[in-house]
Subunit: 331 residues, 6 copies
Amino acid sequence: MKDIYIADLANFDEGKLFDGYFLVLAKQQRTTKTNKPYLNLILGDKTGQLEGRVWELSDPRIAKSFDRGDVVKARGSASRFDDRLQMKIDQLRLALPDEVDKTDLLPATTYDVADLWRQLLGFIESFTNPDLKRLLTTVLDDPALAQAFREAPAAKQLHHAWLGGLLEHVVSLLTLADRVAPHYPILDRDLLLTGVVLHDIGKVRELSWDIGFEYTVEGSLLGHIQMGTALAERTMDSLPDFPPRLKLLVLHMILSHHGKLEFGSPKLPMIPEALVLNFVDDLDAKMQAIQSEFDKSIREGKGPDELTGKVWSLDQRQLLNTRRWLGEAEK
Amino acid sequence: MKDIYIADLANFDEGKLFDGYFLVLAKQQRTTKTNKPYLNLILGDKTGQLEGRVWELSDPRIAKSFDRGDVVKARGSASRFDDRLQMKIDQLRLALPDEVDKTDLLPATTYDVADLWRQLLGFIESFTNPDLKRLLTTVLDDPALAQAFREAPAAKQLHHAWLGGLLEHVVSLLTLADRVAPHYPILDRDLLLTGVVLHDIGKVRELSWDIGFEYTVEGSLLGHIQMGTALAERTMDSLPDFPPRLKLLVLHMILSHHGKLEFGSPKLPMIPEALVLNFVDDLDAKMQAIQSEFDKSIREGKGPDELTGKVWSLDQRQLLNTRRWLGEAEK
Amino acid sequence: MKDIYIADLANFDEGKLFDGYFLVLAKQQRTTKTNKPYLNLILGDKTGQLEGRVWELSDPRIAKSFDRGDVVKARGSASRFDDRLQMKIDQLRLALPDEVDKTDLLPATTYDVADLWRQLLGFIESFTNPDLKRLLTTVLDDPALAQAFREAPAAKQLHHAWLGGLLEHVVSLLTLADRVAPHYPILDRDLLLTGVVLHDIGKVRELSWDIGFEYTVEGSLLGHIQMGTALAERTMDSLPDFPPRLKLLVLHMILSHHGKLEFGSPKLPMIPEALVLNFVDDLDAKMQAIQSEFDKSIREGKGPDELTGKVWSLDQRQLLNTRRWLGEAEK
Amino acid sequence: MKDIYIADLANFDEGKLFDGYFLVLAKQQRTTKTNKPYLNLILGDKTGQLEGRVWELSDPRIAKSFDRGDVVKARGSASRFDDRLQMKIDQLRLALPDEVDKTDLLPATTYDVADLWRQLLGFIESFTNPDLKRLLTTVLDDPALAQAFREAPAAKQLHHAWLGGLLEHVVSLLTLADRVAPHYPILDRDLLLTGVVLHDIGKVRELSWDIGFEYTVEGSLLGHIQMGTALAERTMDSLPDFPPRLKLLVLHMILSHHGKLEFGSPKLPMIPEALVLNFVDDLDAKMQAIQSEFDKSIREGKGPDELTGKVWSLDQRQLLNTRRWLGEAEK
Amino acid sequence: MKDIYIADLANFDEGKLFDGYFLVLAKQQRTTKTNKPYLNLILGDKTGQLEGRVWELSDPRIAKSFDRGDVVKARGSASRFDDRLQMKIDQLRLALPDEVDKTDLLPATTYDVADLWRQLLGFIESFTNPDLKRLLTTVLDDPALAQAFREAPAAKQLHHAWLGGLLEHVVSLLTLADRVAPHYPILDRDLLLTGVVLHDIGKVRELSWDIGFEYTVEGSLLGHIQMGTALAERTMDSLPDFPPRLKLLVLHMILSHHGKLEFGSPKLPMIPEALVLNFVDDLDAKMQAIQSEFDKSIREGKGPDELTGKVWSLDQRQLLNTRRWLGEAEK
Amino acid sequence: MKDIYIADLANFDEGKLFDGYFLVLAKQQRTTKTNKPYLNLILGDKTGQLEGRVWELSDPRIAKSFDRGDVVKARGSASRFDDRLQMKIDQLRLALPDEVDKTDLLPATTYDVADLWRQLLGFIESFTNPDLKRLLTTVLDDPALAQAFREAPAAKQLHHAWLGGLLEHVVSLLTLADRVAPHYPILDRDLLLTGVVLHDIGKVRELSWDIGFEYTVEGSLLGHIQMGTALAERTMDSLPDFPPRLKLLVLHMILSHHGKLEFGSPKLPMIPEALVLNFVDDLDAKMQAIQSEFDKSIREGKGPDELTGKVWSLDQRQLLNTRRWLGEAEK
């Protein structure tokens, strides 16, 4: 584990020295007004990212020795310029391979990935529909895909935007959908849960997460809905005697899960399972965004009476943390 | 129980005589092209409504003896004119009070109202928050309101548009919300369930259900959101030491439960409980509408391959009955 | 060729007898106000459809001898009831197989299909990109698909809603796109024309055209964009060494050709060829709709000063036939 | 009266010293790039607000001696940094109570509040409807509410965003509505004027105006429409024999005065008086915004040929000052 | 004056004979189910229009003796068929020129046109701006235009859709604008009133009102905004030394008076006078529509508790007649 | 030709001296934090614009010797401050008239204007409709208008925003429309091309292009659609016996060419030629914007795998340069 994280610097004494390992997200040579050159960096780790400036380099070759995507060891101090936190870096070098723990460098789920994976497999194990069970088993038996499924974020920003976020989101949805399914007898539970597992599977190729979270070119041009549909169709076509009607319904659920044409689904939900999938997916994403916003308010020192910042996925709405506000009142 | 219902007439032999009791929803004196007067009626019962024509009246005083809102006993036959079913009525008289069972005359919930009511009270009993428990207990202790709550439809048309529909909808929502609440630790379960119980309470005055389902003038001018908020506020003001912050949150949940300004909520949900209330309310209304549409398709003799009619509350979308379609395939 | 067509009946003397062959689009047993049974039919041919009533059947078994989708020979007369044209049918029987020319029974392109097909192949022949040429050649070498491509309408209603309409639309677009391509040097002409050929290929399975034009269940749940994308992807995957970037661009063009999310494209055009495809597709559909509307105005006897009826695909706009209006002025 | 106001500083010689009293709207400790600490303030008075920096503090205890919401006496000079005006503060201390005139510290109406209040009472005096007269008299007889009504701004930003702005807006509307009412005989003048007086009354609790203009938590969660409706309902319920139909109409006018669901009114205007209220309210707010924008253009030295800045409440439109532009032409 | 009007027939005893003069709005030859020919007419006068059927013609030449746009004398009776009032016409002939009073045949303003005209001139007389005064004087001095201005309806349907409706609407607006102008000192009253007089002047050519109210081809292609702007521009160009800036403002007011691009104004109001013009125009149109709807409710026998029908220009809203509803309560 | 252009400075060594001539787009006196005055300029030429700062002026009179709109000779160096390129100017003087080539100072078409003009005249020469030919000939015979037509940009920003851009856009459109016209027989080619020539003619007065590109006051209040329509109408009115129907169609094409009310066209296209004009205008503008964006990406050193920046006229979409991306793959 690292000694110091980006998020720690907000409460760090100004001027106090730290040593830390960071991922280089951007690197630029610049000049001051008085024509003095300096190095401007964006450094990140799992807790966030920050601008850093190297005003004096002990050796000019250091600036050439690393690039975007590398990990560096930096010594410096934090300071605030125009109300924006910055790092002032005094010394810098490329990190050695054995100094780096990759999971420290990008935000990652706080859950145990192996445990999430076991939960996922447990849900599939519980299916009574043999065709849907072998479909999901086949998909997850592909080692490359399974590995990517465990690593992928669920989004570039917005909600569950961290390593393992996709898996965390899917397992949360499985639990939720499994609670909702018995309430409506018209629902086919296994079909609904299959939709949950596969709805965002295209994201393992839509996004890249080596250096920050980005869209791939393929992801930009096709989108995860199309990519996931194609993956599911190929897999079902490879399974002997997969029922054609069931195939159609599975594809429809992936296609329609955004719930509206203007959100990028080319078809609206036309079966009850697709409607429920769209609802729980939307609800879970928003609840996660609210939880993150509440955490952020506390981190930023806001009082219980203060509304959160504007939440992008809730139309820039500001929210109130019910429990905190009521707790405050009771004191 | 009535011998014959409106819905039965669709499959009745043309010309065969029936006797039945119906609620008069409209009455009009008209003339044929050849200047012959006749009586045109809209007659209804719990299974639907139908146009009926009285071509010959044994006694002209009969036409004066009843009005909109009365119950009549009619003898006649069913026939189809321009592809529209009609009743041809031969004899007609005002029904005697003891001949009429009011629950036969308007559509009503298929659930046992007493049982729904027990479930509702059971949920309130389970509350750990004493203030919310006494709020709901006080509201439901008002006998007139409790009676109206048991009778009211949840809507004029759309979803749960039948006697007892409001209670049925609320109990379904309580069950669903109770399943969802533990999944998100930031949720205050009792507050969420309180929102469920009160969100549509204004409908007991927004709608009237004596003769068909109509909006009252008050309902048209104020709406059930305002009426429910006022009722909740009055009740909380009457309770000694009701916590002011809790009052604010309860009012906010009623105000915001439609989820969007353009759906008539003057405020968007700004606390997690209000967001979840909006989601489960919307989901339950849509699932009920889908179920009704599936039932209607079967009643109309549509095959499993045929999509339903266009569902108003789902943007005129047509749906496919998953289970029926898959079942058909397996045969 | 048939002796009499639906469209002819509008100008037929009322009461004059005709004999004709028609496709049965709907059949219903009904009763008059006076309880007399009759048969109500919707009969169609390539020029339109009309309601027909059989008041007296020489033999009751005739009504059982045919069904929706059959072709019948009917003798009767045309009349106008409440300003709506109708057929009064006196005699009726199932048509013999050799009496029926299927192309007479549904609206069909006025172009020579073989000639359109030759033009299509000619455009592909002109490609300089070998990969795109073998892609299209492979697609059109599938005999079942080629047959469906020659028969399919381009839409259920709206534009090119006739047998061969899809091919007619594609050939018109190829000609237009080929004129536009050299005007913009950034355009890759072969890629653009490939998009034109494949953009609506999914319609061969989205629609059925045996008895009228209908959506298949598969078409309703997946849509022609997804179905066409899958077909193209499968074909490209089957071609050895098909360039992966080219594959991506072809798929993107099909996905994005509706030009807007709310029109069912899950991605907006992000390459110049996709943008141009969306423009020419939209323009050609609208110009065809205008031409049809002008033809209809003339058929209905409207004067040159009268605007057309409201055109659905042009936001219910009414149009003026420029040439006719100016011609009228010059006289 | 203060010697120097924020607005004066724009035309102040750079470097020239001033002394002034200001309200502290924000206070933050910061550090320069070279790790030197300084104090960053937002200081305001009735003419606007400005950033101020204290680079050297004679005594470090001074920074602790005041907080957001306090009034300070500052000596310093104005300067422009990156084209943005700033204060450079040399000396600073907490102001003494008798040095402060609160009306100098927040923007306030330029009208005489006592005179506006007399006009308001005069309109109520002129009512012929005794019930509406006693309703408004009762509301304004509450001393706390009357005081708040005289102080409250009409908005946080946008229009009439100054102390007394609510009263100024209401009196302007009364005058305007009184001119419009006789033009349409279907209008009930007293009802219309009652709606004018009460429509924004909820703003006295939706907003706070002690330190700048802010939304209260209650205001954020309920909104002034709900808060005003509740206040009016409580008052009418307290009046013996207040006609129930009149009560309903008064509540409807408050509820519907924003004119559209998407502007936060849960009901659209359904009586002529509510429609007119929405029109005059909207017009008056826009005319005030235009007037402010014209004043601002002159203050900023724009010529008569230049359009104003973009007006938020007019869809970011820019306006032309007719009279000024014509005057310029006549010279 | 005519003896009998269309509106009278609603309360006419069925079967009782009447004689009347009507404008022929449509004429069609039709046939009954049993092949019997009859004549179907739409007849109108200033109170409305009604379908009429001539079952037996004493002389077949009569049907050829008149056409759409002619006035006929008809003898017949009123009857109700399928709840729709109809005329059964027994005798019919072309009216003689001296039998016809044209103002009886189309709906017309209930105001005295000469008096409205005097009011219009009076407002212009009151102008202090000589350029605007000579502009309006010049426009209204054109006898053909003045005649059309006195006759034109203000719309095809919607509001003021009757002969003289344009003038009635303009005079109402002048009165209203003259009341509003002094309330806002930034307004140039003469410019505002000039905008009022000219804003809809293009309607004298956009609409035709010889036989019912229709759009001309020119009106359909250009619209009254463009036609009015061109007329105003031509007139101002013809006046020596008309100030160019004033010309620009007048044109801008006509262009922008619909207030929104989507309502057909190519520019939004950018001067205060244009904003006010848009407001009062919109308000006056809506108030007139409400008044008409209230009148219609009374004519149709609706009670004071019943909402009106849905008002097209108010988003299909239903309204409540305040005064009637309150009056009813007081009894 | 100038020695150095704004665009060159991006790749200029920091600190290296240059001499250049630039147009002064803005000039402001400012002060540093330490109260030192300096001069802040926006300098531009045909390749772009850049901020420049003069820290030391050899003679204070220099700052007074020039103003916005003048051309200056500057000596200085480029540097990057906070990642934004800037000029540091050491010496500065007003340029001499004979040192300035105006076409160097604003962005201008890369085509030969004389050649574009010849092409334009050539298209008109090819007309077979004599009325349309004399209309366009008359318009272009006005020397002032012809000069403005050759100079005007097609827009303030967005597409073809450079001197000669209007002419370049019109000639591109003529070529494109001439290719499309023969494809649809219902099109009147000469009418379509007339619409192309005149559709944006109002821009010669809507925009000014002396110092940067700005809207005139007249342009802001009336817009180029109205101004172009008026110009066309005046010209047609001046031609003896110009056919009135043709005049109406020409005006309609100018009015409707933006294709939607919300884009500022007061009428939607109602003739086929107007529809096609709207399509090709829209397509050409977008294709030009894409081409500019591709050029910019190359200039900025983006790789072939990188999407462009967000394109304003394509809903902030990012695009991929097909040819470059495929070319990269082939290497």
